[in-house]
């Protein structure tokens, strides 16, 4: 009996340690395939680095052209041939990026519980999906935008449906093929369907070779953009 008790205490301790592990870095190869309303297509490939503590997402892009893109909590930078080619304001984008949401354990509800724009109004279960309805939090916002539906499958974010204020579907996103890396669940495929003038346009983002909490490559995780 005493051994069993000790064993239980040990297992609880191990569990506590596992939960206490903080995910603070993620690196992944990525590809984004997209068809656009003007008839063109886009393929972007490269490697993405995100460090939660440094508050930077660095995209090292190899295709279509060699480019480096850096997103901080307030600006977006683009470097071509080692020179700054673009700088623009980018407020709140890093906070709601999939990398920050995943590392902050907020991906399951897409961070809607933290942004104050939407409030949870309904939760229902159907088949393998738990569907939550998020309505704009104020009457003024309701005039501007519609509800958002979020579905979870096995407690993982599965789908998002965005509506306009007339209850028409604007866009859907599906998060599939989750990988578990060092205890972090991350979708290796995101499929976005945009509805424009009755036609569907797709954007498929794929992540491969996901690395969590790497201790090397500090220079790129904490890319010093101020020198450019």
């Amino acid at each position: 009996m005493q051994k069993l008790l000790l064993c239980l205490i040990f297992l609880s301790f191990v569990n506590l340690l596992a939960n206490a592990q903080q995910h603070y870095r993620i690196k992944s190869d990525f590809s984004i395939k997209e068809n656009l309303p003007d008839g063109t297509s886009n393929l972007t490939m490269g490697t993405v680095y995100f460090d939660k503590n440094n508050k930077k997402i660095v995209y090292s892009i190899s295709f279509p052209t060699k480019t480096l893109q850096v997103l901080t909590d307030s600006f977006f930078y683009e470097l071509k041939a080692n020179k700054l080619s673009e700088k623009k304001k980018a407020t709140n984008l890093l906070q709601f990026s999939i990398f920050n949401l995943a590392l902050s354990s907020n991906l399951s509800n897409y961070g809607l519980n933290t942004n104050g724009i939407f409030k949870l109004t309904d939760v229902s279960k159907e088949d393998s999906l738990v569907i939550s309805t998020w309505e704009p939090s104020t009457a003024k916002l309701k005039e501007l935008t519609g509800k958002v539906l979020i579905s979870q499958k096995r407690r993982l974010l599965y789908g998002l449906v965005f509506f306009d204020n007339k209850n028409t579907v604007l866009s859907k996103q599906f998060f599939t093929e989750y990988m578990n890396v060092k205890g972090l669940n991350f979708p290796s495929q995101i499929t976005q369907v945009n509805y424009i003038n009755g036609k569907e346009y797709y954007k498929v983002t794929t992540y491969k070779n996901i690395v969590v909490n790497a201790t090397n490559e500090n220079e790129i995780y904490n890319f010093n953009i101020s020198t450019y």
Binding site: I32, K33, E34, S41, G46, Q69, K88, T133, K172
Partner: protein, 152 residues
């Protein structure tokens, strides 16, 4: 009385089921259709994966067949992914679908003049598209009426 209660219960359950069924069906998408649409891009992706460091400019310069069947842009998609404005939806679409309200949402959420400009372009294109559809509609209706009037 018992029958009424039973009927009401069945109706309530059916109503609740229908409401939920509507929501669940929204979370379905045709993966085969997506794969078919992305087929050519996937071929380019596989080629680039196996030819380390190759750029679109190089592929075009050597007239590589792999890019001949697809109209690829030189711009990178992460830029739009990162700055695609409110709720992960491209600003262009906000403007195109919701008009001036879409522009306002983009402005309020992103606070970025470039994104607001994209929403404005989307709005203008949406209006132009709508106007063209209206013209086509009018031509079809009045043209058809004129044809039938002449025929009679």
């Amino acid at each position: 009385m018992k029958n009424n209660v039973l009927m009401l219960t069945i109706l309530s359950v059916l109503f609740a089921f229908n409401v939920n069924a509507g929501n669940a069906s929204l979370f379905q998408f045709d993966q085969n259709k997506v794969n078919a649409e992305m087929n050519q891009l996937s071929k380019v992706e596989n080629y680039v994966s196996t030819h380390n460091g190759v750029t679109l400019e190089q592929l075009k310069a050597e007239n590589n067949d792999i890019v001949s069947g697809v109209n690829l842009t030189e711009s990178t998609s992460t830029l739009s992914a990162l700055t695609e404005g409110a709720l992960g939806i491209p600003s262009f679409i906000w403007g195109c679908v919701l008009g001036w309200i879409g522009i306002l949402i983009t402005y309020l959420v992103t606070q970025d003049s470039e994104e607001t400009k994209k929403a404005l372009y989307g709005c203008l294109i949406g209006w132009v598209g709508g106007f063209l559809l209206y013209i086509i509609f009018v031509v079809l209706i009045f043209g058809g009426s004129f044809f039938w009037a002449s025929a009679n």
